[in-house]
Symmetry: C2
Subunit: 409 residues, 2 copies
Amino acid sequence: MDLRRGLVIFVGYTAREERGGRRGKSEIQIVKMKKVGILGGGQLGRMLLQEAANYPVEVTVMENDPSCPAAHLCDHFIKGDITKFEDVIAFGNNLDIITIEIENVNVEALVELENQGKIIIPRPGALNIIKNKIHQKEFYLQHEIPSADFAIVNSKNEILDHHHLIPAAQKLATGGYDGKGVQLIHTKEDVAKGFDAPSVLEKMIDIQKEIAIIVAVAQDKSTTLYPPVEMVFDPILNLLDYQICPADIKENVLWKAEAMAISVARNLNSPGIFAVEMFVDKNDNVWVNETAPRVHNSGHHTIEAHYSSQFDMLWRILLEYPLGNTKKIQSSIMVNLLGADGYKGETEYEGLKEVLSIPNVFIHLYGKATTKPGRKMGHATIISDEKQELLLQAKKIKRTLSIKGKEKI
Amino acid sequence: MDLRRGLVIFVGYTAREERGGRRGKSEIQIVKMKKVGILGGGQLGRMLLQEAANYPVEVTVMENDPSCPAAHLCDHFIKGDITKFEDVIAFGNNLDIITIEIENVNVEALVELENQGKIIIPRPGALNIIKNKIHQKEFYLQHEIPSADFAIVNSKNEILDHHHLIPAAQKLATGGYDGKGVQLIHTKEDVAKGFDAPSVLEKMIDIQKEIAIIVAVAQDKSTTLYPPVEMVFDPILNLLDYQICPADIKENVLWKAEAMAISVARNLNSPGIFAVEMFVDKNDNVWVNETAPRVHNSGHHTIEAHYSSQFDMLWRILLEYPLGNTKKIQSSIMVNLLGADGYKGETEYEGLKEVLSIPNVFIHLYGKATTKPGRKMGHATIISDEKQELLLQAKKIKRTLSIKGKEKI
């Protein structure tokens, strides 16, 4: 598979500027206000809306919870069920362009809206592939994109039919999110903990590093990549602990990872933002883990550390502007701020002032009125070109800032 | 006047970190949601609200126009007249903290709310000084802060009583904004164009440069300065054309300017953001022109070019967090995007896509549905450590991007 050749002509500013040069003054277009809808109102929607205010766009959000993080920042909020066909159709009727900030939406309705001529980003076809982990694995296989060996199982009893895959991860085909819906099967004894539902049984990779690359694909198919990030996970909550950009990987690993990320995005055949999570094994092989067809936790650092953030980039894609500049301004670490163990209820921030006195830290709190253990309550980005400084401040933040609920549990 | 000595112990991180070090873990405070109100809903409110979404704060905006730039980004919007006593009192009743994004508010109501125990930033006393150009000039005089020689006049006929000040600028005591309310009196013949209203007649300075420094003052009086910006004005519209940060000034001019900016902020005796505009004359003397007690056009570049933007900084002040880091990440130019001459009505953006293809440009459009000649419709910030690159791209933006209305006038 030699995708690297394609990369040069396909990606980044060179291609775009050449095109711009040919276009000339006479073709200058007039831009007017467009109506965009976002399905889902969580923190990703919130950060999208912070950026939306830089562009001529009128944004409607649909979400069941009127106190969700994005509710007050949009032009119009509609209380509705994003998984319900009728709600999504009604939502889409008055809009020009529709996007998502969570995969768990009614795709049939998006297909119908696309048939009516609405622009849906990502395209429903891409969403259907990604929403179901079985389809997603088959997609990688079909397009010769390396991903871990797997089998499809419908119950835990079937796991032993594929004992050669153990140690393995059993992943529910649908409904998994933020580490939920994944069961690790280290030995045959763990089979009893397995799921009795359609799922992927995936051989565990001997992981050296976990990285992610965000790919941006415009409506005219021009494409660009962000530098890879390296992720470190919390071993207990299975949630991202902190993430460094750029990843510390060898050049040949970078090339493989970039080629694979582009192959994923191209073959999904859709404009949008695609976060491609990958494993690097002990032999420097790269394997795709999974892909998100939207702005993603692995791109939060781009708000301060890169010229065009993933949120800015999605607006550029939705509104048919040129793709943004993915180059980093400085290196960065992003730390997820999770609800502390042992507390739930009304949110309180402990140590916030101490963290805000660190001169190169940016805090983003998602405005969630209540917390629970492990809930994503915010994130912090640290920028610096000194890696030791990044690590030092990341540890200081984790030690100092604690997001607790009023009730002990 | 030796204010420079004070600056060292008074400003910046050194003092703050020492304090932090003494405080220790045991005094860590718990932060909860606060209710803040902003009087005015223009672009400054809009940019404040984009930043507010990073902090635990519930924001209410009052403004007469429900389609103003800030209306849809706040938690609660109240249609009301910010110049009316009753409206401001009613607005303030349910809030903890009140700030402004325009000076033209009812200060009597703010005094009353302050007496009720509300936190008003800037304090009404500082607003009263700044709102009236006669009071402002007397304030500079009283505190020995150099500003141009002046006289107070109540009609154009009185101008000739002070002919030694000509060439002069006659500035209305109240109601001036964005270059309105100022009449240049180059010769005695220009007196006929003067205002018949209470005003300041100010001797013109032989200007070498026009600069501005933003000062941030916390509720605990800790203070920090942004680097100075250098402003270049449009000679016809008398509106800021573009502005470079940092200003290209000699070290002794910088010291004078910093000392004067701090003296203004200290003597106003109020927390808040203060934009101090100054002239540097041909002999390297520095003169205060005027001060704005709020986030200001001269600080827009701080959104991308500095660690803590002026908008982030105001939230830190309002919410009693430590002051932010005013250091630049890169040098910058900010270009105001004004409504094009000859057009009014429904806003259209010409050349926007071309400008968005410049890799180090950040566009902020204020979402104003209609335009008119000279109206502030947005701004663009360019970041780069190469001054020639900044100037090149600034000129490209001014040549390429045009904000027009549908109607020719």
